[in-house]
Every structure is written in C-alpha cells, then in structure tokens.
C-alpha cells in the first residue's frame, strides 16, 4: 500500500522533472540555466532504465538548440507521442514559433519552464517572469507554481489537463528561487499519477497522430478567405480549458488531499486590501498575510495559478467583495506599457465587472518586483499593503529597489519579520565554491527532513566567479511548511558558519546571527588565540548578540583523517553537533549513513576516512571563551586594499566595489548605467587573494622564453623589458636582469613578475617552464611558494612593475614567444577557473591586437568570465585603447560580429568618401595618406592613428560645412579587428547556421572557437564537438558519433583561413596562426583546443593534455591559408603523425576513463574506433597536404 504522505526532499527542478518523466515518452531538450537540471535528471533516469507510467523508458534527446528541441517535439507530438521538455529564458524565446503551431493544432503538451529573466541591457541567469510573459499570445495555457511542492503537483495536474482539454500547457516556476530551492514535500507516487491521466484521452491523442494508415495533412497554408475563421475555431477549447484545469485540480485533490484552485485566496474573509500575484512571491505574501491577519489586519493575497486562459470569473469569485484596494504584482517589465500584463488583466476583469454592475470597482495599482531574482521579502509585501492604505498610492510602482530616478519605488521596513519566520530555525553558511559546503548542506537538509517531522528548506547563493567562488547557503527548519521564499536576513540565523577564514574579513556574515545564536568558524588559529584573531566587526556582533563561538581547524582534521583538503563532512558534523537541531548521536549516525550512501561501493576506504573524520571532529571542536572585560567594538566595513588606491575611478568606488562586497542590493537606480554600458579595466580592483601558492621567478635560471606568460590563464605572471634607469626606484626585492635578446638596446633589463593577489595558484606556469636547475631538476625558473608571506612584498613589486611603461612595441618581435609576451595583455584577472584552457587564447589576441579589437562574444563561459558583473577582465592600454566587447545572444554571435564588421566597413567607406571630398581642405598629402594607409601591420595602424589625430586637429580649425560630419566618423579610418569569440556549443551547435553563413561571405572577421568539446558553462553537456567515446551529459554511455570536423567544413569554401591550434602543444604555432588569421582580409576561423575541468583532469596538466591530444592524433594541428600563390597547396599539416596511441590520451582523462567503469565493453569498442578514426583523419589530412605534390609544393 503506497504511503500517501511519503515525504521527499528535493529541489523544484527535480520535483517537476519527476512528474514530467513519469508521464511522457519523448523528451527533447537543450541545456539552459536554470532549467538544465531537469533534462539532466531525465537523462539520468533514462540511463538507469527507469520506466515511465507505461513501462517504457522515455527517449531523451539533446538537440542543437531550443528551436531544434521545439521542432523535434512538434514532430513527435503530431506523430502521436506524449512529449515534454524543460527550458527557460532565451531558450523559451526560441520555442515560440513552435508554441504557436503546437497550440494552433490543439496538441496536448506540457512544457516545464524555470522562469528566468530575458537578456535586455544585460543577461541574467536569475528568475523572473519576463520569459513566460513573452509567450502569452501563443495559445498555451500558463500554469504557475509557487513552491517546490507545487512544481511537482502542477507538473502532473497540467499534464492531465492538457490531455483532457487539448490546450498545451506552459508550466512555470521561479528560476533559482523554486527551481533550485531544496524542500521537503509530499511525494506523488505512480498510482495517483496514473489515476490522474485519462487513458481514453491518450488514445485520442494517438488517434489524431499523422499516420499513413489513415492519412491527413496538417500545417497547410491558408488564404484570406478562411484563415481568420480557422483561427477562431479553437475558441471552444480555450473557453473550456479553465474548467478542464479545475477538474484536474479537483481530481488531484481527491487523490492526494492537496486542493488547488485556478485562483487561490488566503487572508481575511472581509479583506479590504488584497495583493494579486503568482509564483514564489505568492508564498512570501501568503506568509505575510497570515502574520498580518493574526494581528487583525484586513488583508489577503490572491494567488494566480492558471494565468492563461485568463478566467476572469474565477478571479472575481475568489477575490473578496470587500476588497477596496488591490495591488497586482508582476515579476516582469514591459517598458512603455501603462502597466504590466497581470495588472492589466486583473484591472480589465474588475473594470468589466464594474461596468456590468456586478461589483464595485476597487482601486487597482500595479507594481514590479523581483526582477532577475531580486529579493521579495515580507517587509516588501507589507510595504505594498501599506501603500494600499494611503490615499493616493502610486498607480505604478516598484518594490525591492531604491529608485531615485523615476521615484517609483516603495520604501520598506527591512526589520519586519513574520511570526512564521520567527518560528523557524535558520542557519547560514559561507563556503568556498569548491569545498563542498553546498552539497553538505543539501545533505543536511535531507537528513533533517528524513529523520524528523520538521519541514526543511535550503537555498544557495552562488558566485559569478568560477575560481575561488564563495557560496552562501541559507537553511531553514520548522514545524510548519516553510513559505519563506527569501533569504535569511539580518539577525535571523540561529547558526552561522564560516567555512573559510578569509571570508570572515570580507563579509559581514554575523549580521545574519540572531541573538544568542551560535557561530562556527573554521580557522587554523588555536582555540585559545581564536578570539584575538577575529576581525573587530565580528567581535562586535559576538558581544552585542551574546553569540556562542565554536572553532575547529577543519583542514588539520581533514589532513589527519586522511581526507586531504576535503572539509565538508567535518563542517557538517560540527553543524549537527552544536546547532541542536537533532540529538547529537542521532545526527552523527545519520551523517555516517549519508557518507555510506555517497561513497557506497565507490570506496569503502573513503567512507572509512569520512567516518574517522566525523569521529575526530568532535574532539577538535572547541567553544571559545569570550573575554569579559572589553567593551563592544564598533563594527567596521571591510574594504579591499584597492579601495584605498589613490585616483580610484568614481564608478569603481561607487558601483563596482559595493557589488564586489555584496552590497549591490543597496545601490540606487541612479548609480547604474542607463544602457548597460560599463567601463573596462575593473577586474584589477578585486584583488581576490585566492591562491594558496604563487609562482616565484628565479631570475638566474630563466632563459626569458616567455612560456610562463603565454600559458597564464589570468595574466597574473607578466614580462616587461625596460631601461636600466627605470629600475632606479624599484623596491628592494624587485627582480630584474639584463635582457638576453640582442634585439633590444644595450642596458635593457627584463623582469618576470607575478600579480600576487590576482594569481589563482593553478601552477600552469611552472608546468610550462622548460628550464631545470642542472643540479636539481625539480627547481624551475618559476616555482610555486606559499602566497601569504610573499603577498606584501610582491604586491609592492607588482605595483612598481605596472608603473614601468610598456616596452616599445616596434622593438619587440611580435612573432616570437619571448617578444610577444612582452606586449601588455588587455585581458586580465578574469573569474575563469584556475588553469582555464580558454583564456590564454583571448589574452594572446589582446596582446597582439587589443587596441583595435571589436569583440562579439557568444553566451557561455567566455561571456561569463568576460562580462559578468561586478567587473570585467578586459582593460585598456596606457593610451586608453582596448578591446570593445559585447555579448548579444548564444545563437547569433557570428551574425552579431559580422554586423560589427559591416558597420566598421561602412563607416570607413563613409569617412573615406568625406576625406576624398574634402581633400583640399584637409591637405592633399594627409588625405592621400589617410586613404592609402597600409594598416595590416601594427606600425601602419599607428601611423594611421597619427594621421587621424592630425585630421581631427585640422577639422577642429576648419570652417568647412562637412568638417563636423567627418570628425564624427574619422576614427573609423583606423582599421578595426573584429573578433567573434565563443565556445563549441555556439560554433558547432546552436550558432552553426550563422557561423556557416558568415564563413560563406568574404568579410574580414576573425572567429575564435574555444573548443572544450562540451557545453562547459552549463555543466558539461554533449555538443557536436564532443569526441567519440567521451562521457558527457546526454552521452552517459559514451558519445557514439565522432566529433564534427568543423575545420574541414570551413576549408571546403576555399576562401576561409582555417587553423587548428593547441598552445600547450606548440605555442609558436598558435602565435603564428593568430597573426595570419588577423592579417587575412577575409573570414578566419581558429579552432582552439581548450582543456576544461569538465574533461575530468586537473587543470595543472592543461598543457600536458594539449600536448597529448596532438601527439596521439586527437587534435592535429593544421592551417589552411587561402593566400598562397596559384598552384600552391593552401593546406599545411603542422603536427607530426601520431607518435602515441590515442588510448593513452583517453586513459588520462576521466571523461573517457570513466566509461571503462560504467560500460567496459563499449569503452573498449570506442577506444578501437577512436584509434581508427584518428588514423583515418590524419591520413586524410596527409593526403590533403600531399595535393600538388607533383609541383614539389606540398603542405607538409
């Protein structure tokens, strides 16, 4: 007998995906945050052969884009399968054309959407309703969930209703807030799920399928005579659908006891003020309303469940007649509209009712809240109710921000708390992204959820960085279901944990602590000295709130227990030991059980080590004594060293640093740019100090080859040549030696200097160093050493280093590694992973061409580390020039970059025409020079810049009627270097159509494909670049098809410069390719091998892996140079025939090696085939290289 009240603890994505999987047969997907996990769950269950309700395993298919997924689903639906999918944001926009079709054909279908902001002035991965609101007109029903429980329930109810009513359903819930919230809910098991679905309706869906057995046609073209009437023919279905949905909800209630209505009202029966909204905000409003009504306030909240078809009568029936003032809240923005959509719908329904005399017209106001996951708290809900109580509330308002520009925002009381929130116990944890804090907390929630009757909730705030990221976990536990869809606020947390000492300085985490609460700190400082080691601000909180403080040296315990640097189990044990949420023994037993489950058969030894660590933890956990005598220290805000830098740009001071310090929520509207335009060069102010060790240069050993600079992913080790005299005021520990190159004037000195506070400690520079001390091979010309003792000294040295001018670029050989590495990078200190394999390529491009680059960047890792606030790694040279960068979309990047080229060419042409027309005014020589300038090389470009400066001077003094016109476009006389940058997901899959089109044109663009062979940013999903036999998401059994040879396809055009590079294998080849590509006056395609953490190999071995990839034939190096003379072979094969079997490379990376563990037979087959394919591919290239061999001009 199934348990109707079986509780499970999971997040919203999993909750929805469970139902979708159970009730469908074909699931076509494409990854996009925050919905990706739903598809991944489905893929995982299918890989485990888990059946759906009808005993078959759903077919999961990853497509090349959401547009592709939508097309595949449309085809599967019209052919009789039960289908579902998962998407969000830009992905949902790509579905739209098919949504119209699917709805127009009255097809039962449910699409689960974790609602997310749409990119406008900026991309946001976070939650709001702007994506789903863009689908209002498609004909889909729109069903809103507000919690994890509802995400599960509505995914099933919606599925039942769409089968019953033939109107497809867009089921949505708030991205991150619901999709990623972990909560304890009542499970829906198979029996009720089966009972919800009417088998006759399924049979009818099948009967409507296209079939040669009873053929029909669908998808006709219609003329003015009948299109309109046909469009109206669907009305009965839409008219009936609210009742169909309510019937499904009623059926669900009968099966589970959980009752939903199209509009659910909570609050006083005689409420005078009512808020109408949908999504997770409605849960917060619900909690607030219960609090206020308990105090006698006549308020209520109306939760919208079914937003489309909009059932006005149901809304009116649910809204108390007593409501005299209604606020409708929209989590979206329609600039230029006189109100957001839900507001307009509610207003229309009420106005219509009033016009009909059915009820009195209340005052109705509309507000925006929660855009891009902005917090929505009970204080904000109360502010809205307060506004409804005023005589003249703002008809249009916002809540949750401080709008000092259009003054629309409502003030709110930050300290307002509900009784429900007070009745929960809250805990906040500050952890390092990679230290396992989040997974341990998810595990703790499960433990508490399963071991007790308590309800539990977990929400996790992530970083925008991929290295040294901070995560903040917000956990709540309580006797009642938790509706608090907002973060733990000031003074709320009964338990605060700091898993990394450095964060205590940086974040005012004890502001979260509740009076009498517990603070747990992981610190290497012994317990007796711990108090003195705390920052004054933390001490102030401890005294003022009477906190109990516990310390543990978790790293020491981990080390002693044999767990290396893994501290998550230790910190979890501390939490259970001192938070008092569970009896200690019970908690410890539960953690051990969880450890057993995690490690299970993977490693008994690791499980044992964890057990040992758990036992040791309690011995090493100490409560510290708070000295009694001292007074309460005043709290002080922490600021990074850069905050005190003289001449700090005002924007950085006022905007960038507050965001970096976690105070971005406090920034008023006026401080933010109006059009999403931000200054460059801001990453330099972060000084994140995340490296445990940094490289130290051994000047005596160094041959000044520049390889360490070349491989550095964060531009944190640099070379500079300078005159001897410039070093006169160098700090005493600043190292510099005579430059070895004979190209520079006598007396030239050189220095290799680390940026100690920007380095991530990856060690790639040391691995790249080819020099060994002859007496001690482990000593290189750069070696890693602990950062803290070096920090101050090297900080001063680095400041001095940066004060030295860039060496004369004309004296530097740009075509050699030592020379090119003396050029300043205009891409520095990004938030990319330590050891990232992509960023060295971008940095190289900026060193060579940065002052003239226009960059179009596809969405993905490179747009996140390139352009995620608070800072950007792109920067300017001493003259203020640098790469101008923008991200349009994921799918259109090639086209976006082409547009940049077209504009540059058009405006250059325009400027040239004006120069010609005004030659006499400008001066013949100058005009000739401007028009005939050779700008392929840097020297020519600089000469042209001087001419343009001279031109502007002359135009300034000119009275010519077109002088101003020419001045406004004069800068376009300088050639621009257009770079189109993106990953393989873009180039091979979603953006391939555009990429192919741009390649087919003759325009001068440089396309850099950072090929990690998976979708790295969204978590390693398969792309068409994924190699044969590699395990990736959606290829759990190994990718069965070979990687697409993008280079070969591009070469077929004949006019495209194409190259395959891997700097870790042959850096000088990469350098040569960048020069050739940039100088080619046509499309260039550089496919750059980029090792990634998703390959399952430590990025310390980044270069080694590249080298192996080349030596084993996985990644042959070649160039296709269309500029060769007639009869010469444009193809050059630049790597030697494979000298090692490809299996050696495959064995060295988890993505391949793990297949031997999961599918050994397939792994063996793949390895054999991979060798055959690699041989075949190399032979193919050799044959290409041998073409024209008779002329003696082969490409080898």
């Amino acid at each position: 007998m199934p348990d109707a009240h079986r509780m499970i603890t999971l997040d919203g994505n999993e909750a929805a995906a469970r139902m979708a999987y159970l009730t469908n047969e074909v699931i076509a997907i494409y990854p996009i945050t925050p919905s990706s996990n739903m598809g991944e769950w489905a893929d995982e269950w299918a890989a485990q052969d888990r059946p759906n309700l009808w005993g078959t395993v759903p077919r999961i298919i990853e497509m090349q884009s959401e547009a592709g997924a939508a097309g595949a689903l449309h085809g599967a639906l019209t052919s009789g399968a039960l289908c579902t999918s998962f998407t969000a944001s830009q992905g949902l926009l790509l579905y739209i054309p098919n949504l119209y079709k699917i709805a127009g054909e009255l097809t039962p279908f449910l699409l689960n959407v974790s609602a997310r902001a749409l990119a406008s002035h900026a991309l946001s991965i976070f939650g709001d309703h702007s994506d789903v609101m863009a689908c209002r007109a498609t004909g889909f029903a729109m069903l809103a969930s507000g919690s994890v429980q509802e995400a599960q329930d509505f995914a099933l109810i919606g599925q039942a209703a769409t089968l019953d009513g033939r109107v497809p359903v867009l089921h949505f819930f708030d991205g991150f807030r619901t999709s990623h919230e972990v909560a304890k809910i009542v499970a829906v098991d198979e029996d009720p799920a089966r009972a919800m679905l009417d088998s006759d309706r399924i049979a009818q869906h099948r009967a409507r399928a296209l079939s040669p057995e009873h053929p029909v046609i669908r998808g006709t073209s219609q003329n003015p005579d009948v299109f309109f009437q046909s469009r109206e023919r669907v009305n009965p279905f839409h008219d009936a659908f609210p009742a169909v949905m309510q019937a499904a909800m009623d059926r669900f209630a009968a099966l589970t006891g959980r009752r939903y209505r199209l509009f659910d009202y909570t609050g006083a029966a005689d409420a005078e003020r009512v808020i109408v909204l949908m999504g997770s905000g409605a849960e917060t409003a619900h909690e607030t309303v219960e609090h206020l009504t308990a105090q006698g306030e006549k308020v209520g909240v109306l939760k919208v469940r079914l937003y489309r078809p909009f059932a006005a009568n149901a809304l009116l029936a649910a809204l108390p007649e007593s409501a005299r003032a209604v606020a409708v809240l929209d989590r979206t923005k329609e600039p230029g509209a006189d109100g957001e959509p839900l507001y307009k719908d509610v207003l229309g329904a009420l106005a219509q009712a009033a016009a009909d005399g059915a009820r009195a017209m209340p005052r109705v106001i509309g507000g925006r809240y929660g855009l891009g996951s902005k917090e929505f708290t009970p204080g904000m809900v109360k502010a809205v109710f307060d506004a409804l109580n005023t005589d003249k509330p703002k008809r249009q308002f916002t809540v949750g921000i401080h709008d000092d520009v259009t003054h629309l925002s409502l003030p709110w009381e930050e300290a307002f708390r509900t009784d429900a929130a007070r009745a929960t116990r809250a805990a906040v944890f500050y952890g390092l992204g990679s230290d396992g804090t989040v997974s341990a907390n998810k595990n703790s929630i499960k433990i508490i959820g399963e071991a007790t009757d308590l309800h539990a909730q977990g929400y996790f705030v992530y970083d925008s960085k991929k290295s040294g990221a901070v995560t903040v976990s917000h956990l709540r536990f309580g006797p009642q279901p938790i509706r608090s869809a907002y973060l733990t606020g000031s003074g709320d947390a009964h338990f605060v944990a700091c898993h990394q000492t450095v964060f205590l300085e940086r974040y005012d985490m004890l502001d979260h602590a509740a009076p009498g609460g517990v603070f747990l700190l992981n610190t290497p400082t012994p317990a007796e000295a711990a108090w003195d080691s705390l920052p004054a601000q933390a001490c102030g909180h401890v005294r003022a709130k009477g906190l109990k403080v516990f310390v543990i040296d978790a790293y020491q315990v981990a080390e002693a227990a044999g767990m290396g640097r893994r501290i998550n189990t230790i910190m979890q044990t501390c939490f259970f030991a001192i938070s008092g949420i569970l009896p200690r023994e019970e908690a410890i037993a539960a953690i051990k059980q969880a450890v057993e489950k995690t490690y299970g058969r993977k490693s008994k030894r690791l499980a044992e080590l964890n057990f040992r660590a758990i036992d040791m933890t309690l011995e090493h956990l100490h409560q510290i004594v708070i000295p009694a005598e001292a007074g309460i220290q005043p709290a002080t805000d922490w600021t990074p060293a850069s905050a005190g830098v003289a001449g700090l740009p005002a924007f950085v001071r006022d905007v960038t640093l507050p965001i970096f310090l976690g105070r971005g929520d406090r920034l008023p509207v006026s401080l933010l740019p109006e059009d999403g335009t931000y200054p460059l060069g801001t990453a330099q102010y972060e000084k994140r100090n995340i490296a445990l060790e940094i490289p130290v240069w051994e000047a005596d050993l160094c041959t000044q080859c520049g390889k360490c600079v070349f491989v550095c992913p964060h531009s944190a080790i640099r070379a500079r040549a300078f005159r001897e005299a410039d070093a006169a005021n160098a700090p005493p520990t600043f190292k510099h030696v005579p430059a070895k190159s004979k190209d520079y004037p006598p007396g030239t000195r050189i220095s290799y200097q680390v940026a100690p506070e920007d380095c991530t400690g990856c060690g790639d520079c040391v691995e790249a160093c080819p020099i060994h001390d002859k007496s001690n091979v482990s000593r290189r010309a750069v070696n890693m050493a602990p950062q803290p003792p070096l920090r101050e000294q090297e900080r001063d040295n680095y400041v001095f280093f940066l004060s030295l001018p860039e060496f004369d670029r004309d004296l530097v050989k740009h075509t050699t590694i030592p020379g090119s590495m003396l050029l300043d990078p205009l891409f520095e200190y990004s938030g990319a992973c330590a050891g990232c394999g992509e960023t060295p390529y971008i940095r190289l491009a900026t060193q060579l061409f940065g002052d003239r680059m226009l960059v179009a960047n596809a969405t993905g890792c490179s747009s996140i580390y390139g352009g995620n606030l608070p800072t950007t790694p792109y920067t300017t040279n001493a003259e203020g020039r640098g790469p101008a960068w923008s991200n349009s979309l994921f799918e259109d990047n090639a086209e976006f970059g082409l547009g940049m080229r077209l504009a540059a060419d058009k405006l250059m042409d325009y400027a040239q025409r004006l120069v010609k027309a005004m030659a006499d005014e400008i001066g013949g020589d100058l005009a000739d020079g401007l028009l005939s300038a050779e700008q392929r090389e840097e020297a020519g470009l600089r000469a042209q810049r001087r001419r343009v400066a001279a031109l502007l001077t002359r135009l300034g003094a000119s009275g010519h009627p077109r002088a101003k016109e020419l001045a406004s476009v004069a800068e376009w006389l300088i050639r621009r270097s257009v770079w189109i940058v993106g990953g393989d997901g873009w180039a091979y899959d979603i953006g391939f159509g555009g990429l192919d089109h741009v390649l087919s044109l003759p325009y001068d663009v440089n396309i850099l494909v950072l090929d990690t062979e998976v979708y790295s940013n969204t978590g390693g999903q398969t792309s068409k670049a994924t190699p044969l036999g590699a395990v990736a998401k959606f290829s759990a059994a190994g990718k069965p098809i070979i990687k697409k040879d993008l280079g070969k396809q591009a070469m077929d055009y004949g006019h495209v410069y194409v190259a395959h590079v891997a700097y870790g294998a042959k850096d000088v080849h990469t350098l040569k390719v960048f020069h050739e590509a940039e100088s080619y006056d046509g499309p260039s395609l550089i496919i750059a091998y980029s090792p990634c953490i998703a390959h399952g190999v430590d990025m310390l071995y980044n270069q080694r892996q590249q080298d192996m990839a080349v030596k084993t034939g996985h990644w042959p190096l070649f160039r296709f140079e269309p500029r060769v003379a007639e009869g010469e072979n444009p193809f050059r094969l630049d790597s030697a025939p494979p000298s090692k079997p490809i299996g050696e490379f495959m064995d060295s990376e988890t993505r391949f090696a793990m297949l031997k563990r999961s599918h050994p037979e397939a792994a063996a087959q793949f390895m054999k085939r991979a060798q055959e394919e690699a041989d075949k591919r190399f032979r193919g290239y050799q044959e290409l290289a041998q073409l024209h061999a008779s002329d003696g001009k082969t490409g080898v």
């Binding site: 485990q48 997974s439 008994k604 993505r1151």
Partner: protein
C-alpha cells in the same frame, strides 16, 4: 604415463604450470585457451590498491565533488549510478572465470596498506576465489623504517586477512629481504599457505628529453629465473608451505629447473604475453619429454631433487661465486682492448 600432478596450497593441480597475474585473465576467452593449453590453475590479474586509490581520487574530484560554486553548473560528468569500481569489475571477472573454467582461480591483491583489504579479501572469497595471492608491493624507501618493521608489516597484513578469510593465502615476495628463509618461516607461522618467489617491480626510468620519471614495462627474460631457482632450492624442505617460482620462465628448461629446485608450481606470464597460450602447451610438452627421456615417473619425484636438501654441495647455493663468474666472462672484442 608420467604423473604431472602437484599439490599447491592444498589445491590438487593436474600439472605445475600456472599462468601468473597478467592481463591474459582479463578475457574469459583467453583464459579458456590457457586452460585448453594445459594450465593447471590461473592467477588472476592483480587488483591494484594504487588503481583503487587513483579511482577514488578521480571519483572524488570529478564525480562526487565537482562543484565550483557557480550557479550554472554543479557537476560536469554524469555518474548515473553506473560507475563500477575496478573492484566491482574484478569481482565480476572472478565470477565469470569461475563459471567458465574448470581449473582453480587464484585472486591477486597488490598493495601495501591495511585499510580496506580485509573486506576485499572477504569479497574475493565470497566470489569463489580458490586462493588469494597477496602481492605486498612495497619499495621500502623510508629511512626510518627498519627491516624488522617492514617484515612485521607483511606479517600483520597476513594475520589480518587470515583472521577473516578461509581460503589459502599466498604471499608474493620481492627478493629484497635481508634474511629470506627466516622471514618465510615467520610467514608460515602467521598462517601463509604458500610463498611465491619473486615479484618484479616496475622500475622507474628517466626520460632524458623531459627530465621526468617515466614508467615502462619490461617483460622478463630467462636469466631472471636463476634468482628464483636459488631461493627455491634454499627454502625447499625447510618450510612446510607451498613454493611457487615466478619470473623468467620462458621454456621448459626454466620450468624444470624451478621444479628441481623445489617449486610446487611454476608461474608463467611474459612468455605467454609474447607467444600466446600455445606456449604453455609447448612448455608442458617439453617438460614431459625431458622427464620421459630420463624416466621420471612423476613431478613429485622431480620436485626439490636439486634443493639444498639433496645437493651434494648445498653451500654452492649460498656461495657468492663472484670470482668464478667474472673470470669466466669473456668480453666482446674491441671493448677493453
């Protein structure tokens, strides 16, 4: 008809030729060919502790704890619960070999630490292993570790395993013990049913290009048999446990010499890897012919007939014999002149 049977750690074997731990046992078809060629038992490829550890590290880093703290990805490689450890694979192969072969299957564990080994041994026994060969693969490089404590470690490991496992345990030893007979006796007292002499450490090599340490596998050569023959002859008749000779057997000659020295079984690997399973039949045939020509009736008769117990000059086995060897060596022309 010559009686080729032999007794090894209580197992009645049809002859003394037993393929030792090598990749050949990874494939059931190959194992069957070995059986068909005459193998009397088979030692499975080794379950390497080092491999288990590497696998753990891989699973920890890339499957269980791959998160970076970024909101868009909390993992990169799908596990899907299908990940089988090399232990799982080993147990599965053991089960397959037991089901598919008629000869005894000896499991082989290769490692140095205590942690987890007891459970491993139990699982191997449950999966049907007829005996367990423990290859304590330790290069005693620790300056603070005395010879006695190295030996104690072996004994301790053996005792731990012995306390929970009922099947015979064979200790595979390296030649680097100061007093091998004394140590073997200790192992016998601690419950070992056999010793296998000797394992072959993979020796680290230097790559002159990269100045890095490289590992290379070198197959054995027949001269390596001599070291085994000496120690088998020294031990035979002085200990009760079974003796196996392993390393350097490429023809029936080395096999016969090991038996003459006192081996109960002779292990083969390199010659099978080089020439295939058929080589085993050739060696067996060669042995039988040699015995036939000399009218031996059984392996039992042959076994240990040239050990210290039966040699007219047993001291020859213990003598250094440097001078004789060096004097007898004639260098090629042109080296010293």
């Amino acid at each position: 008809m010559i009686d080729l049977t032999t007794d090894y750690v209580g197992l009645k074997l049809k002859n003394p030729l037993v393929p030792s731990a090598s990749p050949l046992s990874k494939d059931l078809g190959m194992a069957k060919r070995l059986e068909d060629a005459g193998a009397a038992a088979i030692v499975m490829y080794s379950l390497f502790e080092e491999e288990l550890r590497a696998e753990e590290a891989m699973a920890e880093r890339f499957l269980l704890h791959a998160e970076l703290g970024h909101g868009e990805a909390d993992s990169f490689l799908p596990d899907h619960g299908r990940f089988k450890t090399c232990l799982d694979g080993y147990l599965e192969q053991l089960t397959r070999l037991k089901a598919g072969l008629g000869i005894p299957v000896i499991a082989s564990l290769n490692g140095t630490s205590l942690s987890g080994w007891v459970e491993l041994g139990q699982e191997l026994e449950r999966a049907g292993a007829d005996a367990l060969e423990l290859n304590v693969y330790q290069v005693a490089a620790d300056m603070g570790l005395s010879a006695a404590s190295v030996e104690a470690r072996y004994v301790c490991l053996l005792a731990e395993l012995k306390s929970v496992v009922g099947i015979p345990i064979i200790m595979k030893l390296s030649p680097f013990f100061s007093s091998l007979p004394h140590f073997v006796k200790e192992l016998e007292v601690a419950g070992a049913r056999g010793v296998s002499l000797f394992n072959r450490f993979y020796q680290p090599d230097f790559d002159l290009e990269t100045l890095k340490v490289a590992s290379r596998l070198h197959l054995s050569y027949p001269d390596e048999a001599l070291l085994r023959i000496r120690w088998l002859a020294i031990l035979h008749g002085r200990v009760e446990l079974s003796l196996a000779g392993t390393g350097g057997v490429h023809s029936h000659e080395e096999a016969l010499k090991m038996l003459l020295a006192g081996a109960d079984v002779v292990h083969l690997a390199s010659c099978l890897l080089q020439h295939g399973p058929g080589r085993l039949a050739e060696i067996l045939g060669g042995m039988a012919r040699w015995m036939e020509e000399r009218e031996y009736a059984s392996v039992a008769q042959l076994k240990g007939s040239m050990s210290q117990k039966n040699l007219p000059d047993p001291a020859a086995l213990a003598r250094a014999s440097y001078i004789e060897v060096i004097n007898s060596y004639q260098p090629p022309r042109g080296i010293w002149r």
